[in-house]
């Protein structure tokens, strides 16, 4: 079926069957390969993109359901986190990196909105400090098999300041 997606600020038309995931729509139909596939089942976070500013796993989203939403992929990201990742060496192979960056952008917004995490001591205490433990808990949906976790946390901390 013919659908229209808004991606990184522009409208893209494509012909997909209803079972095609947003992830495959991006990678296979639109050639936007910056968003990665690590499991295709919601377990690794490599496919994280932003839908109306919220982070989602694109492999668990059907493309047809995201018509009319504003999708941001790594190709449309222009954020201080990107340089921070390079400075702190927050990656090795780079395969999880687009997902980590999109996820971190979404996470920073969630935190700003006062959303608690499992590491938050007092649910009422919104706007608490984003310390290492909070960042690690909130980023735990994004696997990095190269083990660049220390660098990723440093990059996020640098930018959150």
């Amino acid at each position: 079926m013919e659908i229209e997606l808004r991606i990184n600020g522009s409208a893209r038309r494509l012909d997909v069957s209803p079972q095609v995931s947003l992830l495959d729509a991006l990678r296979e139909y639109l050639g936007l390969t910056g968003t990665k596939k690590g499991c295709d089942q919601g377990a690794c976070g490599a496919c994280t993109v932003l839908a109306d500013g919220r982070r989602i796993n694109a492999c668990l989203a059907l493309a047809v359901q995201y018509q009319g939403r504003e999708i941001t992929t790594i190709e449309g990201v222009d954020h201080p986190l990107q340089e921070a990742f390079v400075r702190t060496d927050g990656f090795q192979c780079g395969y999880c990196t687009p997902g980590q960056i999109c996820s971190a952008i979404g996470m920073l917004a969630e935190h700003k909105d006062g959303a608690p995490s499992a590491a938050t001591e007092h649910l009422a205490a919104t706007g608490g400090e984003l310390d290492d433990e909070e960042i690690r808990e909130r980023m735990s949906g994004n696997l990095c098999r190269c083990g660049a976790y220390n660098g990723i946390v440093s990059a996020i901390k640098e930018v959150a300041k």
Binding site: Q41, G42, C44, Q82, C146, G147
Partner: protein
């Protein structure tokens, strides 16, 4: 200014943080099709019927390839002792060439379709009927059938000094212990992927591989075309850890599908298909027995292992590789035994041998320290050795374990600990600390390199090596900049393409030193050329020399990529390699210091502090090298605390082939990891570089187990250390 030793940012940072870096599944061809594998669901037997009609009828399906219609494929060549090219076939099975099934998960069909969704849908509709023959798939149940590993010059069966069993019996203090480790999978985050395109008899393949040259040769052999007709590219690889060094069925079948359909084919394995068709780490059953006098001097060290191999392949895991070099025991026995199982062959996984072998031997040393009431570092220092313990003749090119222990103990405040197990509490947490040694042999491989200096001052380095996250291009640019005395930014490095001069396989932690040797030699030759040009034209900067000589560039070439050149390269390499191996033990080493907190009620274990100190010879880039150390430690923490591939002992089926059920460390599991280096060049390695890719994975399992024992008083000898084992 020298750039070696500077913590420079990676040269590929920009493309990796913007999504511009293209991995193997991200190259497009007009008319590209998508392929998906169908797996056998029996462990051994024959296919009696294959029903593909429903699959073929799915709209968009281009072909369903099975053994009934697949094009011919040449069998995998028999491995020879030194011919690594063919040793690196993941299995010896000739895919889709007969009705035989050799393992649960073997590909029995490939579906090719216009879209990946159609290919997946159709693949799920292929049905097979089988006759089942008897198979042996239970590792633990086969223990009594273990046989000595056949001897192999590269992978020895073991080693012996004196009579270790008699010395063990006579020792005033002795321990005889059994450790086990489960199978594990690499789980590089990038799914294994191949994009294959035939143009007549010429083949271009983008593959997630850490061995482009072996892939090229292997594909040429299997598909019966000249090697020069095959080009393999791997400009970026999304993690590998040994899992992308052998050639597994996905690559071969993608190339076959492209040939059969006359269309470009992309085959991305699903995560489940990775588990079913890419081997992982063998499980192990290990015995470590130690005999000592009351002062802690080892009189006997026995380390034996049982691991698996199989009729269709599986390299021999060198479980005792580190144990043979660590301690000055009077009597030593190291032995590798094998059981043969009808499973997907095991393969190399980060620090093969050492990762699991050090878990056992470094746990046992800790147990002995407890038995003697001695500090475990003190016990190790009493048994520290200056010569290789076995044979007693070979020297270590670099042995800095004393310094490493001293430095690490200071950074970690080791001596603050109360040695008594279960003596330290922090609220509901029991706190403990542990220590263990890391050790990994160093190796170099032959490489060809060209270095070209242009009249505009730019330098181009070309070598077919691999970038899987080590920061390889960045390190080689630093080495080149210093060797030629040019700025770092003037150097560009091309890699990841078999059309480039022959690069090494990216494994055995050998790549950086191997390429460095070639780069340094090329730069020296280039400087000589420039010198003689300067004599004729009258000095000046490099740019001036070239301008006056009216040449656009000068180039130095190390090695030759012709067939004869490659043979000559190997012929030069092997005798040197063997001679060197008789004289020297070269190895990277390190020490891990670990603090854990264990919930006294639930057994939940958190790693709360970590310090690693390493001797990797000269450190080219402390930033990327520290990342590699951390990455190795994180993988070691997975091995220690979570990772386990569950194989059904009745059917041989992997039961948890997903990242949801096979647990790898996540952000929340990893504390800040303190890494430091001695940064002292090894006198016998190119530029003094010892490999950095694997050493830090060795020893991690034992450091955690020792800390858990210190925290709780419970000794866990069976990995992973999950909370059920602490209740």
């Amino acid at each position: 200014m020298t750039t070696i030793g500077q913590p420079l940012d990676r040269v590929d940072g920009g493309v990796k943080t913007t999504g511009a870096a293209k991995f193997a599944a991200e190259h497009f061809y007009p008319g590209l099709t998508h392929a998906v594998l169908v797996h056998a669901t029996i462990s051994r037997g024959r296919i009696t019927a294959l029903h593909t009609d429903e699959a073929s009828a799915v709209p968009g399906v281009v072909a369903v390839l099975t053994h009934l219609n697949a094009p011919p494929l040449k069998p995998a060549p028999k491995p020879g002792a030194f011919n690594l090219t063919v040793m690196f076939s993941g299995t010896s099975v000739n895919y889709l060439q007969s009705d035989e099934v050799h393992w649960e998960g073997q590909p029995i069909a490939v579906v090719v379709a216009e879209t990946s969704a159609a290919a997946r849908e159709a693949a799920a509709l292929v049905r097979a009927e089988y006759t089942v023959t008897k198979s042996v798939v239970d590792f633990e149940g086969s223990e009594q059938d273990a046989r000595p590993q056949p001897n192999n010059p590269l992978l020895p069966r073991g080693a012996k000094k004196g009579d270790a069993e008699a010395a063990l019996k006579a020792a005033p203090v002795s321990l005889d212990l059994r450790y086990t480790t489960p199978p594990q999978n690499h789980n590089a985050l990038e799914l294994h992927a191949t994009t294959a395109n035939w143009d007549g008899d010429r083949l271009t393949v983008y593959d997630a591989t850490q061995a482009i040259d072996w892939f090229r040769t292997h594909l040429a052999l299997r598909f019966g075309v000249p090697r020069t007709n095959v080009r393999v590219l791997a400009p970026f690889v999304g993690g590998a850890f040994g899992g992308k060094s052998a050639i597994w069925p996905g690559t071969i079948l993608a190339v076959m599908a492209a040939r059969a359909t006359d269309r470009p084919v992309r085959l991305v394995l699903s995560r489940e298909s990775v588990y079913r068709t890419v081997g992982g780490r063998t499980p192990s059953i290990q015995r470590v027995a130690l005999g000592a006098d009351r002062d802690g001097r080892l009189t006997s060290l026995i380390h034996t292992s049982i691991t698996r191999t199989g009729p269709i392949g599986g390299p021999f895991e060198q479980v005792t590789a580190a144990s043979q070099h660590l301690y000055a025991a009077e009597n030593i026995l190291a032995r590798h035994d094998l059981v043969s199982l009808d499973l997907l062959p095991n393969t190399f996984m980060r620090a093969p041998g050492e990762a699991i072998g050090t878990f056992a031997v470094e746990s046992a040393i800790d147990e002995l320290a407890c038995e003697l009431g001695m500090d475990p570092i003190e016990l190790r220092m009493r048994n520290e050795t200056a010569v290789d313990p076995i044979g007693g003749r070979k020297k270590f090119s670099h042995r800095r374990l004393r310094e490493l222990y001293a430095l690490g103990a200071e950074r970690f405040d080791w001596h603050e600990r109360n040695p008594e197990p279960r003596s330290t509490r922090d609220g509901r947490w029991l706190v403990g600390t542990g220590v263990a040694t890391a050790f990994h042999r160093a190796l170099t491989l032959p490489v060809n390199v060209t270095v070209r200096l242009s009249a505009d001052g730019g330098v181009l380095v070309r070598c077919g090596f691999h970038e899987m996250g080590m920061g390889a291009a960045t390190a080689q640019a630093q080495i080149t900049a210093d060797a030629l005395g040019v700025p770092f930014d003037a150097v560009r490095v091309e890699y990841g393409d078999s059309a480039l001069p022959l690069g090494p396989f990216a494994g055995a932690s050998a790549q950086t030193a191997s390429v460095a040797a070639g780069v340094v030699q090329a730069c020296e030759e280039l400087k000589q050329t420039l010198k003689s040009m300067a004599r004729k034209t009258g000095g000046g900067t490099n740019e001036e020399i070239l301008r006056r000589a009216k040449v656009p560039h000068v180039e130095a070439v190390v090695g030759s990529d012709t067939r004869l050149g490659r043979i000559a390269g190997r012929a030069r390499f092997l005798p040197n390699f063997l001679l060197d191996a008789q004289r020297w033990v070269k190895a990277a080493s390190g020490v891990h210091f670990c603090e854990v907190k264990v919930d006294a009620e639930t057994g939940e274990t958190r790693v709360s502090r970590w310090a690693g100190v390493f001797d990797i010879g000269r450190v080219i880039n402390p930033k990327t090298a520290a990342s590699q150390m951390r990455g190795g430690i994180v993988m070691g923490l997975g091995l220690a605390m979570a990772e386990e591939t569950l194989v059904d002992p009745r059917t041989g089926r992997i039961m948890n082939p997903s990242l949801a059920e096979y647990h790898v460390p996540v952000h929340a599991d990893i504390p800040p990891i303190d890494v430091s280096f001695l940064d002292d060049p090894d006198p016998k390695m190119p530029l003094g570089i010892l490999g950095a890719g694997e050493v830090s994975t060795a020893g991690v399992g034992a450091a955690v187990a020792n800390a858990v024992h210190h925290a709780t008083g419970k000794r866990v000898r069976d990995l992973p250390i999950t909370l059920d084992k602490l209740l």
